[in-house]
Amino acid sequence: MFTHIGSIALRVYLYYALWSALYANNGPQQSFSFKDIITYSVLALLVGLIYNVDGPYVVREKIREGNIAIDLMRPISVPLYVFADTVGQAGFALVQIAVALPIAIGLLALTGTHISAPASPLIALAFLVSVALGFLVNFFLDLLMATITFWTMEIFGFQLMVQFITSLLAGAVVPLQFFPSPVTAIAQASPFAAIYNAPLSIYLGKYQGPELLSTLALQAVWVVVFAVGALALWRVGERRVVVQGG
């Protein structure tokens, strides 16, 4: 846990160095002030702690090694079990964030940089709802991919590819608004934007009124789409399970 927090501090500094160099030469990008972009990066890091828990990845290993048999013999819904496990891990990530956030703020304060607070309590609330929706989209996307293991037994390469696409199109590294406008439009319409870009943009007040509501609504749609897809695929996969290793 402490090495984890150490690595967060390191990455916060890395982002600071990167963006200050870029901004010093090019000035503010799009509608993002320097303060905005630093806030965006730090929040993306912290939200990433909640998203990138082990959850469905464990399922992939269980299917590969045959230990899924243990879960399947119990009177439980395996996706629900995995979800509970993932939420539990996310809860632990919140504890890490509670420790890491003051450290990140303190570190940035040393350089004279400050992170923006949400503009209003309503924005803060919308941000939290949006993170929760993003968490669900991310979870069901991961579950969907893990479920494919029932057929392929090996999914790591594919998962890695999706992970790269996600971090790019979701806005985990660079705000989507920084891309050329057609790319931005495509990325924002993609389900990946619902994971990082939506909550972070909401926090920075990039969406107001109806736009904010439609962003949340689109996130909710993606939650439903991936949930239905993942659970349907799971039902089929569970039926054709081949237990590895005797």
């Binding site: 048999a69 119990r74 009177p75 054709r240």
Partner: protein, 349 residues
């Protein structure tokens, strides 16, 4: 009747891989599947409270059958019920009434102390607090869990972990318990401890057990009935006594003679063979139905002074090994393999 399997069949489609480093790449492009029958037309019925040994060589289809009965695998054809429930159709309902111990896997939580695994299972199975407390006390005593119940599972020895797994499988008082090679890799003391536990739970609670194992001592000590399968098909279903009576007709007589010139010893009884001699010790094998043991002993005693005589039936293991190798065929071949081949057979007439 608590378990009924009716013509259970499970086929697996496996990819035939091409060999060598180039083969791995070729496999990516041209796929060649082969269909294997892991289990073929297996039917049986079990009454509540039975303790049945389900045996067969590696790859016979034992685990596959168990996985169908636990609802993990869906059969290709045929059906089965466990206390009226079709396992794969209602996997969760079936899950509540069964317990499973896999010798090769653990259902305990690797990083948690044993006791916390029990608490989690208690929540998963909704075990009432009083039942849980009573079972925990009883199992702790029977399996001697005290000394390591607060140790994380990853630090337990195999024997300790298996004892933990047994307690975990029984905590919700299942009606049927499937044991898939539960004594694999255990030392004699741990094996004995586990066997006593199984016998005790079977006797006191009337729990039905299906036990797959390669250690036939498990079967001899625990099971009155065995189901024998090979290549996915059922070969035998009946009592251990019957299979011993029918396929284990050979007996071995071991005698220590009081002889000065032991190498000159000659024994002449039709149907009996001397299979080994080492100093004063002579081992004779005979067919129980062809030769009377008393005649053999009398004949020996007429010529030599006997210091010690024992007559033994072949262990179940020898009988089963013979069936694995030669099929059921004729009972008289039983035990030939293990006992006859090595000796410089001496028949004098």
């Amino acid at each position: 009747m608590i378990i009924s399997a009716d013509r259970l069949t499970k086929q697996f489609r496996t990819l035939r891989r091409k060999e060598g480093p180039l083969g791995a790449i070729a496999t990516l492009f041209s796929r060649d599947y082969e269909i294997k029958d892991a289990v073929r037309d297996v039917s049986f019925k079990l009454d509540a409270g039975e303790l049945v040994g389900y045996i067969g060589p590696n790859g016979a289809g034992k685990s596959t059958t168990i996985k169908m009965l636990t609802g993990i695998l869906v059969p290709t054809s045929g059906t089965c019920t466990v206390d009226g429930i079709v396992p794969w159709a209602d996997r969760q309902a079936n899950g509540r009434q069964i317990g499973v111990v896999f010798g090769q896997r653990t259902q305990l939580y690797w990083d948690l102390p044993l006791i916390e695994s029990f608490q989690l299972l208690r929540a998963i199975y909704n075990v009432p607090a009083a039942t849980y407390e009573r079972n925990l006390r009883e199992f702790t005593e029977l399996l001697g869990l005290d000394e390591f119940i607060r140790t994380p599972v990853r630090q337990l020895s195999l024997g300790q972990r298996m004892r933990g797994d047994f307690a975990a499988a029984m905590m919700h008082e299942p009606k049927v318990v499937f044991l898939d090679e539960p004594t694999i890799g255990l030392d004699v003391v741990a094996k004995e401890n586990i066997r006593q536990f199984i016998a005790r739970v079977n006797r006191d609670r009337g729990t039905t057990f299906i036990l797959t194992t390669h250690d036939l001592a498990d079967i001899e000590k625990l099971c009155a009935r065995i189901i024998l399968i090979d290549h996915g098909r059922k070969l035998y279903d009946g009592s251990v006594e019957t299979i011993k009576g029918r396929y284990g007709r050979n007996r071995t007589l071991t005698a220590d003679l009081n002889c000065e010139n032991c190498d000159d010893v000659r024994i002449t009884v039709p149907g009996a063979n001397v299979v080994s001699r080492e100093g004063p010790r002579i081992v004779i094998e005979f067919d129980r139905d062809a030769v009377r043991a008393d005649e053999l002993v009398v004949k020996l005693a007429q010529h030599y002074e006997l210091r010690d005589v024992t007559i033994a039936e072949p262990p179940l293991e020898a009988i089963i090994r013979d069936i694995y190798q030669h099929g059921l065929g004729d009972g008289s071949v039983a035990a030939r393999d293990g006992l006859l081949v090595t000796a410089d057979v001496e028949t004098v007439s």
